[in-house]
């Protein structure tokens, strides 16, 4: 029953009362009973999949599931495990360990680790190969920490048009944590990298069922030794001052601040110094983006074989409205707080702007406490909607390098780098 109908009923009833026609009023009351007894709509499930249009929801549409050491998260796949973090966890700058998203590539991932047997091996093109136990790692190297965002390269893949095959993530394949461990540079210095070395390769404990020599057998990622990001790489044994959950890479994980998560090797076991460029599947074929300014191309150009591709690297600037999330109608005139967070792989967040008219005009949001250039930066902005109806809140961030989120969408065959301005429809209701 809508508001205008009720208003008419009231006017009619007042008229009836004014005339002293009590019996008429009672008759009206009886007639109104079916309305009073009208059942509200039953809850409905999310669809099992979306498409061919863009996924219209903030998150992916899978069911909630519980995995070991995890809060209920959104299931993408169960073997290997891929889980998405629900939206509300992003109201805070640090994502709890049990809510942190999960993404594995290979089927055989560790269920348990024996720390008496576990060793970190530094091998390849080094003068002094090292085999470090967990206590040696803790004792022999200086502690180091960094707050940094870990985001899957394919986060928000379900937004792309046309849709591409792959993990159909909503926006929740990201998280921010305080990572503590030791510096990669110190370990490489201890192993004494030989002259003429080109790259450093990481591999974890996970293995696949595919044949040897294929990407379905082993997952390895490499970074150039000349890349300045190596000075900031940490091998983390702690996440938010707790051990890493098994699904997030216990006992040791590579942290590459500002870079997409594909380089953040989980359950790290081997560090190999290479004297030539890594040509394994996960570097040569997978996780590559078009060599264009925004990493975007078209299906036609891909088909024509015109697209030069390079390994994915730093994360473009993004921002999100987390609350209100559109699930509740807001009474007109009620002051609410728009809240969310922003981040960039190109230095910290300089500003966040919000629009309550779909992007026609923008105003600056207030930034929350900073936790370093690689962290989530929370923001808020007061909003008192006046007009009943549908409002579109848009949010855009600018990073310290001056990059602002684009209006337009990104498309590439891998479904990477999505960072378009996010929009949220919010219904405002009449209040009288």
């Amino acid at each position: 029953m809508n508001f205008s109908h009720r208003k008419v009923s009231r006017r009619r009833l007042l008229k009836a009362l004014g005339a002293g026609a009590g019996s008429l009023a009672i008759a009206r009351f009886a007639a109104a009973r079916p309305w009073l007894g009208q059942e509200p709509a039953s809850p409905q499930h999310m669809p099992d999949f979306t498409g061919p249009g863009a996924n219209p929801y903030w998150s992916s549409v899978g069911p909630f599931v519980t995995e070991p050491q995890k809060a209920p998260l959104i299931l993408l796949t169960d073997r290997p495990v891929q889980l998405e973090t629900p939206r509300h966890y992003f109201l805070q700058a640090f994502t709890p360990n049990d809510a942190f998203y999960v993404r594995w590539h290979l089927e055989t991932l560790p269920n348990s680790v024996d720390l008496k047997e576990w060793r970190l091996r530094i091998e390849g093109n080094v003068e002094k190969p090292l085999t470090l136990s967990f206590p040696e790692l803790l004792k022999q190297f200086a502690p180091a920490s960094v707050s940094a965002v870990n985001q899957c390269s394919g986060n928000s893949r379900s937004r792309l048009q046309p849709r591409v095959a792959g993990g159909q993530w909503g926006n929740g394949a990201m998280g921010c944590a305080l990572w503590s461990g030791v510096k990669l540079r110190e370990i490489l210095e201890a192993a004494r990298v030989k002259k003429g070395s080109l790259q450093v390769q990481f591999e974890g404990l996970d293995r696949g069922k595919g044949p040897e020599g294929y990407g379905s057998n082993r997952f390895m990622k490499s970074l150039d030794l000349s890349n300045p990001v190596l000075d900031e790489v940490i091998l983390a044994h702690s996440m938010n001052s707790e051990p890493l959950p098994m699904l997030n890479g216990f006992p040791l994980r590579v942290i590459v601040p500002g870079y997409f998560a594909t380089y953040w090797m989980k359950s790290l076991a081997s560090i190999r110094v290479l004297d030539k460029e890594d040509d394994n599947f996960w570097m040569k074929t997978a996780y590559r983006i078009p060599d264009t300014p925004d990493g975007s191309t078209t299906p036609e150009e891909v088909k024509a074989g015109k697209v030069k591709q390079i390994p994915i690297a730093r994360m473009p600037v993004r921002s999100f409205l987390i609350s209100p999330d559109g699930s509740s109608k807001i009474p007109a005139g009620l002051p609410v707080q728009l809240r969310g967070m922003a981040f960039s792989g190109h230095g910290g967040i300089r500003s966040v702007e919000v629009s309550d008219n779909g992007g026609s005009s923008w105003r600056a949001a207030r930034l929350g406490e900073g936790h370093g250039p690689y962290s989530f930066r929370t923001w808020d902005s007061p909003w008192t909607p006046v007009r009943p109806g549908t409002h579109e809140i848009a949010v855009r961030a600018t990073d310290e390098e001056g990059n602002t989120q684009p209006e337009g969408s990104v498309w590439n065959p891998g479904g990477y780098l999505w960072n378009a301005i996010e929009r949220q429809k919010i219904i405002v209701g009449s209040n009288a």
Partner: protein, 142 residues
């Protein structure tokens, strides 16, 4: 005398009528709608019992649970279960959006050529047929 008694009772009568009307209008203009529960089965998640830990050197998270989706019956389903299942669960299929038939063929060929899946030719054809028939634009059911 009787007339006077009726006159005295009249205000009480009107008061009763007004009270009744007020009650009726209060019910009609209820501030909220309450008391409805749905029979719709939305599912629920049982809490996981914390794993039993020892103080030894082994750090154990336990087994990772499977959540098998139902795959529609049809030609090729057995081959999908036999071959695709080697490296990943069928959730990798059911999670996808509508994909055009040629994209499914490309995906299966990618599994063979790029990932080294060892699938006989006739089984490959049946797998592609199954995916195109059940998971493409226009063929897929919720």
């Amino acid at each position: 005398m009787r007339h006077a008694r009726i006159s005295a009772a009249l205000p009480k009568f009107f008061a009763a009528v007004v009270t009744l009307l007020l009650a009726a209008s209060a019910a009609l203009y209820a501030e909220f709608n309450a008391g409805f529960y749905s029979e719709e089965r939305m599912g629920s998640i049982r809490q996981t019992l914390p794993a039993v830990q020892s103080s030894g050197v082994t750090y154990d998270a336990g087994a990772f649970p499977l959540f098998p989706p139902s795959l529609p019956a049809g030609t090729g389903r057995d081959e999908v279960k036999a071959f695709c299942n080697t490296c990943h669960s069928p959730r990798y299929i059911t999670m996808q959006p509508f994909l055009p038939p040629e994209v499914w063929a490309a995906e299966v060929n990618k599994m063979i050529k790029t990932y080294g899946a060892s699938i006989p030719d006739d089984s490959t054809e049946r797998i592609i047929h199954y995916l195109e028939t059940n998971f493409s634009t226009g063929t897929r059911k919720q």
